[in-house]
Amino acid sequence: MRVKYDILGDALTLYLIGELDEHYAKGAKDYIDAIIDKENAISVVIFELSQLTFMDSTGIGMLLGRYKKLKKRNVRCYIASPSQPIEKVLSLAAIYEVIPKM
């Protein structure tokens, strides 16, 4: 999988591309954390999932981990454009209760 990002004003958008499973979660986590640590002026993070083709519960752990880290900095998190299969995994874990959908 790959992660791309852009910053518009105080909003960081992270584009997750490909398949997110146990094998790729660590690399994605480290890459995202490095961006978050560097961009200390952001107040909103959007996880843009339209190009994520597969995600299992490892992805839930990864998203919630970033949420917890960003919450300490009062950065709000959102999820945008998940495909139907990924929506099903996210809903089952009730993730929208903490990371709302845009």
């Binding site: 299992d56 519960s57 139907q84």
Partner: protein, 141 residues
Amino acid sequence: MEKMYLKFNASSKNESFARTCVSAFILPLNPSVEELSDIKTAVSEAVTNAVVHAYPKNKENSEIIIECFVENNTLHIKITDFGQGIENVENALEPFFTTREEDERAGMGFTIMRTFMDTLSVESVPQQGTIVNMSKLLKAG
């Protein structure tokens, strides 16, 4: 009866290989897009559990076996490992239960398997391994 047997080592890079093989096996049965993604996700969860929990160290001689067969349009999947086993299966089946919270694990693996498949059963013997059986009726087939 259509059958498949797949044996591979417990490496995280094989999670993708495993779910792709099971997908390819059921493709001739014309599953719906939703059925296919449900099955891929359930297989990924079971294999991830084996990679992460059954063989936490020494993955050198680790093995995972996936057996599938289809009978009356129902896909049966059996996933076996010979790892350290689950101490308390009842706890492991609870949503959000994890022994590895520090690793940012969601504890949703078995919940996803149970929700996305029609049946789920888990047998485990400490120090001997775990067998996960799942099945799902393919309605489109």
